[in-house]
């Protein structure tokens, strides 16, 4: 016993060092598994408050740009409304007023674009009805998926994450693909699993597909930038430019699907 104590005292520098490193690596390894882990991220109240007050200062300087974006969105919505009103007037049937999706507006309090795995923190949490696995969109396009919810804050797995994965569809030919992020550049993503017979052109629009229930169908994702054909194999890749500008992201909406739980419970019956 005495020898053990003497050994520990003599080598306490190395022992403590190894202990702290083991703790660090365990924490890090656990956080790699993002779905099961509660992130230490900004869902913590103190951290959230600090980040929020700092982002408020930033918001002030972007007011004019934000105004412009909101005005543009307003115009777009008015346009869509006029189409809806038009359809309603022409048909005798009532348009189904039972909406499936609800949008919860939120502000970005922290956002990174230059890490290998980027997360976004927003100022809405469980109190506001935000739940895990809900989609997040901006006025321009999709942004990411909620992975962790605190009382007043939530963290979002950005599209700019090595594990981000979204089902997409090309607007022109309705073909499907899957969007990942491996370009290391916050402006571009990569659509994979495109069958080789599909013809794509630069500037083609990429939209969300209807199979995920995380995002509503036909939301803007981005535009095709460059087609990369594989020498072998039956699938091509396409580099796309994100519609969302992640560098200046401020206002986002969390998408709530009213029947998500029902769909999930149906799905779980087929999956063991």
């Amino acid at each position: 016993m005495y020898n053990l104590r003497r050994f520990i005292l003599k080598h306490h520098f190395v022992i403590l060092f190894i202990l702290l490193e083991v703790i660090s690596i365990l924490l890090l390894a656990r956080s790699q598994n993002f779905h099961r882990n509660r992130l230490v991220n900004g869902t913590n109240t103190v951290v959230g408050k600090v980040l929020e007050s700092s982002s408020e200062v930033g918001n002030y300087f972007r007011l004019s740009k934000t105004n412009k974006e909101l005005a543009e969105e307003n115009a777009m919505l008015r346009e869509q409304l006029s189409i809806v009103v038009d359809t309603m007037e022409r048909s005798y049937d009532l348009v189904d007023s039972d909406t499936v999706y609800e949008y919860i507006p939120a502000q970005v309090v922290n956002n990174s674009t230059n890490q290998a795995n980027n997360y976004i923190i927003i100022n809405k949490g469980s109190v506001d009805g935000v739940e895990r696995d809900m989609g997040v969109v901006s006025t321009k396009g999709i942004v990411g998926v909620v992975v962790d919810v605190g009382k007043h804050y939530a963290s979002i797995l950005s599209l700019l994450h090595s594990k981000s994965f979204v089902g997409v569809r090309f607007k022109g030919n309705q073909e499907l693909g899957s969007l990942r992020w491996n370009t290391n550049d916050y402006r571009h993503g990569m659509v994979e699993d495109i069958p080789t017979h599909v013809e794509l052109h630069q500037g083609d629009t990429v939209l969300t597909s209807s199979y995920s229930f995380i995002f509503p169908e036909d939301l803007m994702v981005g535009t095709v930038d460059e087609l990369q054909s594989m020498a072998s194999g039956t699938f091509n890749k396409a580099r796309i430019t994100f519609a969302t500008d992640f560098a200046t992201l401020r206002h986002v909406y969390v998408v709530k699907h009213h029947y998500k739980h029902e769909i999930d419970s149906l799905k779980s019956k087929f999956e063991p």
Binding site: L20, S24, I25, L39, S155, D185
Partner: protein
């Protein structure tokens, strides 16, 4: 001013500067400077080893809380703290540090400090970028990140040191 209070203020200020300002620097995707480690560099020279390690770990963990990467900065900063006594001996050589209380730009000179900062930044960045790539990035990319980030970090740290160089009468940061 009370020495302990000074270190606490320095700790808080450097963490905030890192997560609110420096983390948002975007220079082509490969440059990620880190300045918060200056806190460990400026701890008293005769600080006990266990305090040095725990402070390094705590500092890194605070930055992790903000970036959502538990263990990443904590691990890298702990390694840097572990290497600090050795680097101090290596950099000083025959120069005596006995009457120096804590690393001080005025007393030890710019050349000494540049070497001291450079060694520790290289160790920290090496550990950090390797740990970050743990699952996913290739070694070539990691080396490129280190190569491009180290000079920027060293530059920023030296700039902060010169900005807050202590006057004899006025003890600022």
């Amino acid at each position: 001013m009370n020495k302990t209070l000074l270190h606490i203020i320095r700790f808080v200020v450097l963490v905030l500067v890192q997560v609110l300002l420096v983390n948002h620097i975007r220079l082509g995707g490969y440059v990620h400077p880190y300045v918060y480690i200056l806190f460990v560099m400026l701890l008293p020279i005769n600080i006990s080893n266990w305090q040095l390690l725990l402070l390094g770990f705590g500092l890194g963990f605070c930055v992790d809380m903000f970036t959502g990467t538990p263990g990443l900065h904590a691990g890298a900063t702990t390694l840097m703290a572990f290497c600090r006594p050795g680097i101090l001996r290596l950099v000083s050589g025959s120069q005596k540090l006995e009457n120096v209380h804590e690393p001080d730009l005025g007393q030890l000179g710019g050349g000494w400090f540049l070497r001291y900062v450079l060694f520790l930044v290289v160790i920290h960045h090496f550990a950090l970028f390797l740990l970050e790539s743990f699952s996913f990035r290739l070694l070539g990319q990691v080396l490129l990140r280190i190569l491009l980030s180290v000079p920027v970090s060293v530059f920023l740290i030296m700039m902060i040191l010169y900005l807050f160089k202590r006057d004899k009468k006025n003890e600022a940061l």
